[in-house]
Amino acid sequence: MGRRRQRPAETAAALSRLSVASLLLLGLVLGLAGSLYYAWVVDPIIFVNASPSRLTPIEQEEYIIMVSQSYASDGNWPLAQQRLDALDDPDLPQTMGQLLDRFVREGRPPALLRDVAQVAQQLGSSSRAVALFAPTPLPGSLPTATPTPPLVPVVPTMTATAVALATDTPTPTATFSAVPTPLPSPTTRPNYRLLTQQRVCEAEPVFRIEVLTWDAFLEPEPGVEVVVRWQGGEDRFYTGFKPDQGADYGDFTMEPEISYSVQLAAGSPEITGLRIEPCDSGLPGGWQLTFQNLLINPTPTPANGN
């Protein structure tokens, strides 16, 4: 009799204990799941008060460009520095140097390159691109004189290699002396370097070799004589005689199956192996070569007609 009375009581107590634990757990799980859903999905924290350091990499680039252009406009370095500090980048000089290198390779506008280079230089970045594009070199910021390396590969591949063109003059005022280092033979001393070489592909067949000539500050330089050679032939033309294409522009029409070479008469690397080649679209494409004058104050080349 006693056993019969005790068993239901024990069972009820056990059930009650189990029930409390499981109910507590059930509530906990439900509460946790519901609140996490609320916190992560329904009402997540949105950083409406973000700083520039939270911007996407692309927006940070844009921000840096704007800081550079603003600095170029107002010359207020403390303000520019304060703005750059907001990026919270501990290695900003290197970041700026890498950004400038990439902008050079991407063929960004010269004015933009100068603006970014100026800020990179102020930050202490000392890459060759900075030395090349920064408008007012700081004392000691230019690369030391070294024998000019091969300026560009002469195979028709896309290149945009920044090459040192300046030397530090040993004067106390550290003026900008950008005379290229003489090469062993006077006949091979280039006054121009190849800045870019790229395909020209359009919606219609292109048979042109386009030549752009820029001065040391990457401004258009018209009236530069271009020599085009092929097996058994040679032709010459000047840039700047098609104003609608730009003061720095000149072109030459290629014939199929002929390999051409291009060189500037004033002295440049000879770019060989230029021929009509199919683009990705299958249509024939041409080439565009951009040369930069290595002399800061070049003697103007007489534009004596074409």
Binding site: S19, S35, E59
Partner: protein, 127 residues
Amino acid sequence: MKQWLRQLAWIMLGLAVGTGLGLYYGWDVAPTEFTNATPAMMQAEYQRDYLLMIAAAYDHSSDLATAERRLNKLGTTADSRLFDLMLDQILRDEDEQRIRQLVYLVADLDVGYSPAMDVYLNNRGEP
């Protein structure tokens, strides 16, 4: 009835603790990471500075399309904020170069007009 109330109390207790823990974890310990912000999500002060930079960059580059694209990144109210900022700078007699940059941008984007802009627009192009 007493048993039912007790069970409900336990569930509510569990729910309360779970909710508290969940919100603490979701909002504080591991909140939604948001690193890919756009300029529109920046603090008001940074957005104001962003507007000033747009104007200064435009003054330097004369690239109106880029200025407009940058302005649009600040959201649909960017135009009015630019205009308000310009007026604010004029009325507070801030740096003249900065005011001119803002006035020129407002005028060229045709964001708005105020007679206060005339003195700057009439002298446009003068040093």
